[in-house]
Assembly symmetry: C2
Homo-oligomer: 216 residues x 2
Amino acid sequence: MNVASKIKRGRKFDQVLAGARVIFLRDGFEGASVDDIAREAGVSKATLYSYFPDKRLLFMEVAKAECRRQAESAAEFDDEGASPRKVLTIAGRRIGDLAMSDMGRGVFRICLAEADRFPEIGREFYESGPLLVRNRLCDYLQRAMDRGQLEIEDVPLAAEQFSELCKADIQVRRLFKQDETCSAQKRNKIVKSAVDMFLARYATEETKIADAAETA
Amino acid sequence: MNVASKIKRGRKFDQVLAGARVIFLRDGFEGASVDDIAREAGVSKATLYSYFPDKRLLFMEVAKAECRRQAESAAEFDDEGASPRKVLTIAGRRIGDLAMSDMGRGVFRICLAEADRFPEIGREFYESGPLLVRNRLCDYLQRAMDRGQLEIEDVPLAAEQFSELCKADIQVRRLFKQDETCSAQKRNKIVKSAVDMFLARYATEETKIADAAETA
DNA sequence: CCTCAAGTGAACTCCGCGGTTTAACTTCCT
DNA sequence: AGGAAGTTAAACCGCGGAGTTCACTTGAGG
């Protein structure tokens, strides 16, 4: 039993949460009505309120769960043996996927919109989203440095740079509903370009030589 | 006279717009009440409605004006004679400033929140914001290529990459209210690192040599 | 000084939403 | 069978915000 949570569990708990997730992600916090959520969840309003004391708490619960879900998808990449190019390409593709996904967009949008009203939402999202990815990346970069593959003065900054590079040209367009689709081909090109740039700056001489041989 | 606009002009037009700007930027679209706006503008609600047919139109007008304002601040950089490092450093600082400003954050936040309900808002913001900056940057990069300073296969992508690099580590934290302040020193470091990385990848050999001499 | 258009403010309508209550119905345990 | 706990649909309350109306003021121009 979840002692920390003040929220009652029960048969229809997950059902309510699932419905709330759909509606909140579609309409945002203000835009979503509790009636809509109850209908979507296939549950009466009274039942909904028997589980969650109010709308705000329900929203927080949904947001937290969603952040956790996404954190999982940014899984670790521990390909110790592989070349930096290979490891970074895989990681970059994951980052790009997250930026393109409907879920990623929805959560980003709502968390940002509500970050002023509910600061803890902003923190929660940041920490279990971008920060988590960055930390994983930092760990890898540090290991690659220890192995003499990379040469970086400011590892956290480098991690952030790589992450941003992978989202170049797609994140903003996606967020603002321009150019809905983005071909896999284009995404590959962006990630490749990001890796090229990152290695041009941070790879040691040996790594560059090995990379040139590998790529050719 | 603005024929295209269906909105009546008049003595208090700008006054209303100014008030709306303050309140919308503070409270968002849903959060802002028309009464608040009228009060802030020092105008009666009736007058407000005599200028703008409804709240949505008023908001659109504010958002459009604000995007234009910001676009201006990302002014052109035609330092033809200067080295790529100098030009890019100045441009990068401007981009960073915009990402850090309250205005920049506010407009971004609200436009994103309303992009689903009012797609034209999303388009307007994207085109007069990020896209405009990118195009300016593209123009410069092309000229630098013509001069043999840079060597780029995909100019628009490179522009986007540089832009993203300049916002690394600050944009997201700023948006989600983490780490409110960011020292000028740190910002300089980020921009310098962005320029370093960009040149490492896209500068021609001669430029790299000249840059090394210049930096030393 | 009179006119008339623009502006005022306060009251008012309408509506949707958050949240509550109630009375009937289902489930399930003993 | 019986009863406690959970669920439901529907009506209901109160509030706050969008938009309207109207009697009244202001001030520039003939």
